[in-house]
Symmetry: C4
Subunit: 260 residues, 4 copies
Amino acid sequence: MGVTTLAGIERAARAHLPREIWDFIEGGSGAERTLAANREAFSRYAFRPRTLVDVSACSPATTLLGSPLALPVGIAPMAYHRLVDPEGETATARAAGAAGALLVAGMFASRTLEDITAAATGPVWLQLYWLRERAALAALVERAEAAGISALVLTVDAPRIGRRLRDLRNGFAIPPAVRAVNLDPALMAASHRAASGSSGIADHAREQFDPSLTWADLGWLRERTRLPLVLKGVLTPEHASLAVDNGADARGGANPGGRR
Amino acid sequence: MGVTTLAGIERAARAHLPREIWDFIEGGSGAERTLAANREAFSRYAFRPRTLVDVSACSPATTLLGSPLALPVGIAPMAYHRLVDPEGETATARAAGAAGALLVAGMFASRTLEDITAAATGPVWLQLYWLRERAALAALVERAEAAGISALVLTVDAPRIGRRLRDLRNGFAIPPAVRAVNLDPALMAASHRAASGSSGIADHAREQFDPSLTWADLGWLRERTRLPLVLKGVLTPEHASLAVDNGADARGGANPGGRR
Amino acid sequence: MGVTTLAGIERAARAHLPREIWDFIEGGSGAERTLAANREAFSRYAFRPRTLVDVSACSPATTLLGSPLALPVGIAPMAYHRLVDPEGETATARAAGAAGALLVAGMFASRTLEDITAAATGPVWLQLYWLRERAALAALVERAEAAGISALVLTVDAPRIGRRLRDLRNGFAIPPAVRAVNLDPALMAASHRAASGSSGIADHAREQFDPSLTWADLGWLRERTRLPLVLKGVLTPEHASLAVDNGADARGGANPGGRR
Amino acid sequence: MGVTTLAGIERAARAHLPREIWDFIEGGSGAERTLAANREAFSRYAFRPRTLVDVSACSPATTLLGSPLALPVGIAPMAYHRLVDPEGETATARAAGAAGALLVAGMFASRTLEDITAAATGPVWLQLYWLRERAALAALVERAEAAGISALVLTVDAPRIGRRLRDLRNGFAIPPAVRAVNLDPALMAASHRAASGSSGIADHAREQFDPSLTWADLGWLRERTRLPLVLKGVLTPEHASLAVDNGADARGGANPGGRR
């Protein structure tokens, strides 16, 4: 039979992908100790079983910020799905729909928002980085609403990108055939500039992401959309409280595999 | 000399058994992390020694729910002993008797209850799964009493069987020569159906076990037998209290090697 | 240069000794998990350093139950030193004296008490097992006093010997050339009987050690000697209190390498 | 691209250096368990991230005991930089300046204080061992002030040197071409005496360091200098309080890699 575990899926992907794409996806920051600690921490979770409960008709279905889900699992926002599959995010949207799971499309999706929501049979949310170019951000939010996106997820833990040694060693940049098609190519140019010893991803973030973002700026975004707003990357209870006080509808404890 | 440790017995069994039988016995659910955690947890137990106590005539003999035991150890219910030995459960019964230990025969024993109790020189208990077919359950309980079974052990932590990857990979099913002879063959047919990528054991449980069982149903069983009733698979203190409130005589913290 | 660590001494000894002697010395009970836990526990000890203390003339010298020691370290009682060196305990006595350490001679020493104390330049204590043959015990105590032994160490955690698998596999017995010369050969005969799958050491202990010993018996020994009496193998605070209440002058938390 | 991690720098240094120099730098005391525990302890540190903080213009610059630092990191005092680079401490001084970090020169620097401070573009502190020869200590302090040293760091956790097995096995001594040029050669002679099974470093410390130093002696040093005085090697809170009571301006919890 085929693959039966997540580890098996990982092995199959590794065999299928060019080394530098694999490293971009799998690699973490620095010596990848946080990445390892991350997996180790997950392995410490255990269920506390209850017995003699009628489980003949149990269902994990729920509604999350207005989005109905058969499975309470969301596909985290990841950029450029076409790096690993020619079809890209529309394929992910169909898979999410088949599983009843949520798809959170990345700001740097390699398929248009319109194509993604058209392919989806379940809810799609959109992740955003806060660009220095606020007009581009505002335009994308407007377009997302029109395309049927159900919620926005603002990444707040990446004012700059971690030092991912694999990308630096590979001089990694996004190959020209794969593009963040929902944004002006000029805004994304740095992502495609390969250079020995540097990362196009990190260079691009340094150039385009606004590191001056504070809680006070959230109001600007809140006013521009009727969509629920989720903050991604809030890790402490005190910041979770601040998030709510500042207009967020939810905050996710992002755990990006030790990549920051 | 021969085998001196449990690990040695395991090694000898592995060398003796066909791979898929070994995997069925030794394998756990999923990535077998719970199985590993299980052994690790056992290794943390330590005795707190007392000194200068007269140990010239000490004995671990006790009586458990009316069953006298020279050794306070029970052989956990396991299905189909004939998978590993042509004689099956009657051999186990003789070994238990020689050691002064308790034998808990499995509902899916491959020898008749009557043969097992006839071969036994000590107490024998019977384990039960709660079948959708309650009449079969009632009939087996009646037969158990007549055969001299001393207590019943109801498994309550298996409304469905864990995802045992080894069985799925082996497309495991119980070989036709080994049968759960105490039950109607029609009820057991699914256990013998091998199919690539599926487990006959899991398929059978899905078909025959009643996942709607709750505390309220225990009364039905309690009324049908004068035997002590033990619940197997109660893991939390609050459920242990519930067990007693609902007519159980004992509850065992089952630890089936991470197989659920 | 030569050996610089305890591990180096161990390696050298292993290279020098016949396998079954090495196993007798190095082996622990069962799967040797306690033995491993033992070393692991030691490695967790750490010193809490104090700074700016005048250490130009510091000395660890002390007096232990009347025995003056330049080094507050005792050589634990071990049987049959001649298993590892032709000279045996008198060599150990000279080494202990050179280091300013205490030698605790074993009841099963392979040199006479008189030879050992004659070779010693520092204090020598004597360890005792409680034999069924109390007259032999009484005689040895009397002889020990006459030979200049400074204290007695009664082993209280060995009413029987642990299941040391290495010895069982080797069918180990003490070779005839090495003898517990301070006791009647008849009392020691079982130690020298080799048999496949059994341990002469364990068989001897089963035959000669009194497993009925309790706190009440200690008075018998206390009355027969003016020497300080130490109990070896008291592991819990409550038993330490009992030891003092019953006439012991000290109690040692024996840690025999997971051999019991 | 080149080296991207501290581990990579370590590997490069190992490839570049003679074995006995590498061992002197990398080795710890005894079985190097403390050295390993040290790294393990560091790996347990984690940052508690705060989000939505304006990081567009953040700076770690600070002032430490009057020394302005762009980077709040100090290069720990290490003896004889010329062991690893022909230029020695002046190269380190330039690197520290480029990074905005503090250089703490060692008492046994292999370049003159005047050369080091001349090469430095940032602050330089000087580490001291307390020599039996107090006149030499007083003279060095006076010279340090004249050379522009900004603070003194007194090592208080090395009344003697730990048993570094690598150095003992290598019979390590400082090669004649590398010298502690800020001290009278007569005071340093023992450091250069190689002998099988001994360490020139440890022998020198035993000969020249004053092990009788106590808190009371600190006043003597305090009176001789207007420079801030830091104690290196204070590990417990109670000793940190004592340090302040005795005229220290700061105390560092030295962690010399398990070398003491």
